[in-house]
């Protein structure tokens, strides 16, 4: 007899409502209105929507930073306020919420200490995370003097210091240069590949499309579309062919043949190179020539401790 194993969702949201009130507690804004979502373990899930649609509010409720007005939220099977849950999650906020007076090394060490990591483990992880963030050269400069992109790299690094099972990112690529965006996306993909769950919010649709397996599109606090990106975007009635460009007559003959077969005149263009990839290639060459970088390093090294499973699983 076949036994079905029921996998518990990493994040479960049932009929979530959040109403912000005024000073007298009169309801003013319905930020989230009856939202229902499930995020499965190992999934990269994106929350999309225009400003004020309730993305960040939802994420903050998942983190226990806001309390829901109604509905049920479970994160890794527990309430978001549970300290045991907080050991297993990492959070990258939308803005730079770091302590301006601390250096990146001190910041990472502090959050490691808060997570109860031993000194030698912290030292090793801080070194690897600084390397990942490309900020080894800037490790002893105060975070307050960093650019937004550099600060976001540190924010990402601090979120990973406890080797979390669930990572929540609020606008992860906002303020990052193309290299940072690419690195962020590569890290998200690598984290998902190692079995971690990632929930992110963004309004940069291309970035979401690059990394997310499933998305929910929110408007006025309600989910208007939920599903796998491939299912939502695929147009099954059309196809695209990419061929080596034939000569003038060959192309015309090919187009004529297609038109005869389908009854439609096909559109022809030269596919452009990916600007992001082109940019990264140029910068990589420049970095190789200079041998150093004044800001963040364009190279990426995923820390070895993140290559295995999360800390809780290893235990």
């Amino acid at each position: 007899m076949m036994q079905t194993i029921q996998v518990q969702p990493a994040v479960s949201i049932q009929d979530l409502t959040k109403v912000f009130g005024d000073f007298w507690r009169r309801p003013r804004v319905h930020a989230v209105d009856g939202l229902c979502l499930d995020v499965m373990p190992g999934e990269v899930f994106g929350l999309l929507g225009p400003n004020g649609s309730g993305k960040s509010t939802t994420l903050k409720i998942l983190l226990g930073l806001l309390h829901p007005t109604g509905g049920v939220v479970r994160v890794l099977g527990r309430l978001p306020q549970d300290v045991a849950v907080k050991r297993r999650i990492g959070y990258v906020p939308e803005e730079n919420y770091l302590y301006a007076g601390l250096t990146p090394r001190e910041t990472l060490d502090f959050f490691g200490q808060i997570c109860g990591l031993a000194r030698d483990v912290r030292r090793r992880r801080v070194h690897e995370l600084l390397d990942m963030a490309g900020l080894t050269d800037a490790a002893d400069r105060p975070v307050g003097g960093f650019s937004k992109g550099m600060a976001r790299r540190i924010a990402l690094a601090q979120a990973l210091v406890n080797n979390p099972e669930l990572i929540i990112l609020d606008e992860p690529t906002a303020g990052l240069d193309p290299i940072g965006c690419r690195q962020m996306k590569d890290i998200i993909r690598a984290l998902a590949a190692s079995g971690r769950t990632v929930v992110l919010s963004s309004h940069l649709l291309a970035d979401v499309a690059d990394v997310c397996g499933r998305v929910a599109i929110l408007f006025n606090g309600k989910a208007h579309a939920v599903g796998a990106i491939s299912d939502l975007l695929e147009r099954k009635e059309t196809i695209r062919l990419a061929l080596p460009a034939p000569g003038g007559e060959g192309l015309e003959a090919l187009l004529k043949c297609i038109e005869e077969q389908t009854g439609f005149k096909p559109a022809v263009d030269h596919p452009a190179a990916d600007l992001e990839q082109f940019f990264l290639d140029v910068v990589a060459r420049a970095h190789a020539q200079a041998g150093y970088a004044t800001g963040a390093s364009p190279q990426i090294h995923l820390p070895s401790f993140l290559e295995g499973g999360p800390d809780e699983e290893k235990r």
Binding site: L66, K86, P93, L102, I114, C115
Partner: protein, 468 residues
């Protein structure tokens, strides 16, 4: 077993991290540097300009009084403000959101901030003590050799002996009871004990006012183990003279021994208010069990009235232990008081936004300081109620003030129980039991209650607000 030990280690690591963060941020934001400068100013610069009352021991005491008072104000204000801003600023600047998503309990956040302030206050108090000792040493070093011994004598810790109360059957007490009976003030039958209590109160009040030419007398019981040193016993007098701020006044002290009487002229040429310490050379002091001290106001020609302090009017100070030991006990109590202020600040910071928290903290301290005024009453009205001189139907504001002031005064009483500055400056011995019990009550009891409130508020409040 092992997992609980690991959990305890992780908890300690978390506390150390939170405390280290608060300390590091205080250092980086130059708050600590500012405090160090202010402490140096209070303990080194101010003493350089202090002239004292012209006597070497008076100079030492004045330096101590100024340095301790200023240090207490600076550190108290800093503990209150830094405490108020620690959590409220982090909530407004948002780093609190990063902490709130970490495995940190709300009360641990409170504790981390408070421990950091405690550590900072401890270090700064020790620095202040070291600087005070250096300043005193410097002034002693520059004194002529003849004055140095007198200056050093001021740095001796002494136990304060209060005068014996009037015993039942004392002629003065009987005379006063007769006076009360014949004055016709008693309108109802009262028992003898109440009558005696009233008479004792009035006699005590009479002793505090020494009119021109008048004589007052106090009896002291000396301890059995008196050391036979030249400065073993000192007469301590705290007084003021209305309307004679800078004139020369004089008095005559006599102390009566089993072998006869000795006289002591009181040299009071510079200040007509303050504290006077006079050494009493009592021969064969081990054999003396009681000492009768008499004061004659010898300034009859100038119509000078001495008003003695209600609590420290006339005392004997018996040599006990070293100055440093007393100073350390005083610092322990001062540190405990700062712990209460820091706890109050951090709790208010957890409850309110930064400006509101600072104003609330300062306002509460002012209200607590003024609580004594609302509850000030003649002690006889509480207990004996023989004849009430006060308004029988006070204004409703006074009644409300009394009702509100009583619980506040009850809360504040342990904090104000020992005047550390006065004790250290006048060399009054601070009892070890008083210091330890004061420390446990102030540095653990009060912060525990305030921490519980702060932790609950932090847990109930949402660390993040706003819509996006």
């Amino acid at each position: 077993m092992k997992s609980s030990a690991n959990s305890a280690v992780a908890t300690l690591r978390r506390w150390r991290g939170l405390m280290g963060l608060a300390l590091r941020l205080a250092v980086r934001s130059r708050q600590v540097a500012c405090l160090v400068v202010l402490v140096v100013f209070a303990c080194v610069v101010v003493p350089l300009f202090i002239g004292g009352d012209g006597t070497p021991d008076g100079l030492m005491r004045t330096i101590l009084r100024y340095a301790l008072t200023l240090t207490g104000w600076i550190l108290g204000f800093a503990a209150l403000v830094m405490g108020s801003l620690s959590i409220s600023r982090e909530r407004e600047d948002r780093p609190l959101q990063l902490l709130a998503v970490r495995p940190v309990r709300a009360w641990e956040l409170w504790l981390g901030k408070w421990l950091a302030l405690m550590a900072l206050n401890g270090v700064l108090l020790l620095l202040a003590a070291a600087l005070m000792c250096a300043s005193l040493g410097l002034r002693l070093w520059h004194m002529p050799a003849t004055d140095r011994a007198q200056g050093l004598a001021a740095l001796t810790c002494r136990q304060a002996l209060k005068p014996l109360p009037f015993q039942a059957g004392d002629p003065a007490l009987i005379r006063k009871m007769d006076e009360i009976r014949h004055a016709g003030l008693i309108t109802r039958p009262v028992d003898a004990a109440v009558m005696e209590k009233d008479a004792r109160f009035h006699l005590g009040e009479e002793l505090l006012v020494v009119e021109p030419g008048a004589t007052r007398q106090w009896t002291f019981a000396l301890p059995d183990d008196m050391a036979p040193a030249a400065d073993a016993l000192m007469l301590h007098m705290k007084f003021s003279i209305p309307g004679r701020s800078q004139q020369t006044v004089s008095g005559l002290w006599t102390f009566q021994l089993p072998s006869g009487s000795d006289k002591l002229e009181m040299p009071m040429a510079r200040r007509a208010a303050g504290v006077l310490l006079l050494p009493l050379a009592v021969p064969d002091i081990r054999k003396v069990k009681t000492l009768v001290i008499r004061f004659v106001n010898g300034d009859a020609a100038h119509s000078t009235t001495f008003i003695l302090d209600q609590t420290q009017g006339v005392e004997l100070r018996v040599r006990e232990s070293g100055f440093v030991r007393n100073l350390l006990k005083g610092l322990l109590l001062q540190w405990s008081k700062l712990a209460v202020l820091a706890a109050l600040g951090v709790t208010l910071g957890a409850c309110f936004s930064s400006p509101v928290a600072v104003f609330a903290a300062l306002g509460l301290v002012v209200a607590f300081s003024l609580a004594g005024f609302f509850t000030m009453e003649s002690p006889i009205h509480d207990d004996g109620d023989l004849h009430d001189h006060s308004d029988p139907s006070p204004h409703w504001t006074v009644r409300v003030g009394r009702v509100l002031g009583k619980p506040v005064a009850w809360v504040v009483a342990p904090v104000q129980k020992i005047d550390v500055v006065e004790a250290v400056a006048t060399g009054e011995r601070i009892g070890t039991r008083d210091a330890v019990s004061g420390f446990f009550l102030l540095a653990t009891g009060y912060p525990l209650v305030l921490g519980w409130i702060g932790g609950r508020v932090l847990r109930r409040r949402e660390p993040a607000t706003g819509v996006d």
